[in-house]
């Protein structure tokens, strides 16, 4: 069989019988070509979309939940409903100590303040943050550094500003590092500039200052605006959210069934929906692609069946000249596999071109819809193996059909 596959005559026969009716051979291939083109195109696009989501959320610890205080909706332990709920640093510490599966707990504060530099000014959101924030919500620093522990310890008057603020308060190409801006009437030295990016979770961050400095200048005490909780990889973020809220209700004397006392945004849950959607889309892609492939392969089988019918007499002649049924079958199966494989490889190549075209149309720049739309080599090989298997199976039908007729009947055929 191996010798047969490397025999020039085998391929001469395949070539002859395919070029005998070129139009039909090409039409036969269209089905499989189209199927694999769809498969590659769709899989690549789905991958591109996934990559684009991953890039968007890449800077965030997606397995996280934000919790903030609102007001109670149920009276409890002598407190009337409508009590303001205020989270504190000790709440955050308790969460970190008592709840399983937590990686980080990041307390945050925010305020709107008037910011001035020379003759330029504006009203911006000022966040009081720990260096930890950089771990769960990666700051893309263009220049300088983020807040560090010394800033916290010494309550330094330093600020990390977004590129938007930089554009508004500074001249073009001016070095912002070491310059002073006035926040709430106090001088702050700029130590870093970060790229805000496209996606923002929670209130918009314009200027980060050390948490302790924030406490001091706004007279916050232990109060915090909201807390960001990230789960360890694989931890159930929904469970963490429930546990944290229950703990907070206990600590703050709130009715356990009071659902309005704390507001929250579960990024993990939302992200899960997104990834679920992506997985669904990939499944759909495979389903559509494979189904189209099967349809294409069936079309090949169908046409080969017609071809065999037309070649009944030729097959009869060959058998009269001494071709064994095995030799006839082998030839037809090889033809079937060759057509499917040829069409498949061509489909993979054109599918690649389509991905290149998609990439240049939608894959360029920072806000691209598709990032690196591509299929892995493994997928290509799986597709090819499926094609070979299907081609063989479908080739067997006309092969058996061809040898089921007695040579004498085949010869009589006109």
């Amino acid at each position: 069989m191996i010798k047969f596959l490397f025999d020039r005559d085998t391929w001469q026969e395949v070539y002859d019988s395919l070029t005998k009716n070129k139009l039909r051979s090409i039409l036969t291939m269209v089905g499989v070509w189209w199927g694999i083109l769809l498969l590659i195109g769709l899989l690549g696009s789905a991958k591109g979309l996934e990559n684009s989501f991953n890039r968007l959320f890449g800077n965030f610890a997606t397995n996280s939940v934000f919790v903030w205080g609102q007001s109670t909706s149920k009276p409890f332990k002598g407190f009337q409903e409508g009590k303001r709920v205020q989270l504190s640093l000790s709440d955050a510490k308790k969460i970190e100590e008592n709840i399983d599966g937590i990686e980080f707990v990041v307390p945050r504060n925010q305020n709107q303040s008037f910011v001035v530099r020379n003759f330029l000014s504006g009203n911006y959101g000022i966040s009081g943050d720990y260096p930890l924030l950089d771990l769960v919500q990666k700051k893309n620093l263009v220049n300088g550094r983020f807040i560090n522990q010394t800033d916290i310890d010494e309550k330094r008057k330093v600020a990390v500003i977004s590129d938007d603020i930089y554009k508004q308060l500074f001249q073009k190409d001016e070095d912002a590092i070491g310059e002073f801006i006035i926040i709430n009437g106090i001088n702050f030295a700029v130590v870093g500039v970060f790229d805000k990016g496209n996606i923002n979770m929670g209130p918009s961050d314009d200027i980060h200052i050390p948490f302790t400095t924030f406490q001091q200048i706004y007279n916050q005490g232990d109060r915090i605006g909201w807390v960001m909780i990230t789960g360890k990889p694989g931890a159930d973020i929904k469970q963490i959210e429930q546990d944290a809220k229950l703990l907070l209700k206990n600590l703050n004397r709130i009715h356990p069934d009071d659902n309005r006392a704390f507001g929250s945004f579960n990024l993990g849950k939302e992200f899960g929906k997104l990834t679920g959607f992506l997985t669904g889309m990939q499944f759909l892609t495979w389903f559509v692609g494979i189904a189209t492939l099967i349809a294409g392969v069936f079309a090949i089988g169908n046409i080969l069946l017609i071809t065999v019918k037309e070649r009944t007499k030729e097959i009869g002649v060959r058998r009269a000249l001494g071709a064994t049924p095995y030799e006839i079958k082998r030839q037809i199966v090889v033809e079937a596999v060759f057509i499917t494989l040829f069409a498949g490889v061509f489909g993979i190549i054109t599918g690649g071109w389509i991905l290149i075209a998609l990439d240049s149309a939608f894959g360029q720049g920072d806000e691209a819809v598709l990032v690196n739309a591509s299929v892995s080599i493994a997928v290509v090989f799986i597709a090819l193996i499926i094609l070979v298997i299907l081609g063989t199976l479908i080739g067997l039908i006309p092969a058996f059909k061809a040898t089921s007729i007695k040579p004498i009947e085949a010869l009589r055929e006109e």
Binding site: A320, L321, E327, T403, L411
Partner: protein, 233 residues
């Protein structure tokens, strides 16, 4: 060379069956040139098909070159056909997308010969039928007589012991028929055993022996004085 005794064959037609061969006894020696004659329905083609292992007898013995031919699988039949027999058909049955040389070399392909060897042998036989310069022409570019000569070259290619011809001149005009017959006579002169089915008296008279069939039995089996086809050409 060939020995047939008490050969029977019937075809089912609906509920009944048509008894085509009703006990044929025939033996052919090496080097003979036999014409099998008969009106249509006499069973002459069936007899030739059974001899050619394209069809199987219901009962009776058939020995070809001291090999009993019975209980053939398709594979075995294919190998025997390739080894013992060369076929010449009325409608030539060349493969239309292969050129003359490839057609001639086809039986050699199924013998498992190497490409180079096939080309050489194919050319040799094409030259023998005088069509070497037509080697790379497709059948559609050849005349009827040329096609039949390519078919004869193909039948000869595997160097068979027995040539079977089914109305070899049936599709040709008289002039070409005589040319083909002259060529077949030459082959016989060189020692090939030839068995042909025909219903034309003048073609049959160019053989050395005429077997007449009627309603499935041999009614006459006689050696005749061969008429040389060259007399007509």
């Amino acid at each position: 060379m060939l020995k047939i005794s008490n050969l029977h064959k019937s075809y089912p037609i609906g509920d009944s069956s048509l008894h085509v061969l009703k006990g044929i006894d025939l033996s052919v020696e090496s080097g003979e040139m036999v014409a099998i004659m008969g009106s249509s329905g006499s069973g002459k083609s069936t007899l030739l098909n059974i001899i050619g292992m394209l069809d199987e007898a219901d009962s009776g013995d058939y020995v070809l070159d001291e090999v009993p031919i019975k209980d053939l699988t398709e594979k075995k039949a294919a190998i025997y056909r390739n080894k013992f027999l060369g076929f010449i058909f009325q409608s030539f049955n060349l493969i239309n997308y292969k050129d003359a040389l490839e057609n001639v070399a086809l039986p050699l392909y199924y013998q498992g010969l190497k490409r180079k060897e096939r080309q050489e042998k194919g050319k040799f036989h094409l030259e023998k039928v005088g069509l070497l310069e037509w080697a790379h022409h497709l059948p559609s570019e050849l005349s009827g007589g040329q096609k039949q000569r390519v078919a004869i070259a193909r039948a000869l290619a595997s160097n068979p012991k027995l040539l079977l011809a089914d109305e070899p001149t049936g599709a040709l005009d008289t002039q070409t028929s005589h040319e083909i017959m002259e060529f077949i006579q030459q082959l016989n002169d060189e020692g090939k055993t030839i068995l042909m089915v025909t219903h034309e008296e003048d073609i049959a008279s160019m053989c050395k022996r005429i077997v007449r069939l009627k309603d499935g039995i041999i009614i006459e089996d006689a050696f005749v004085n061969q008429v040389r086809a060259s007399e007509y050409v």
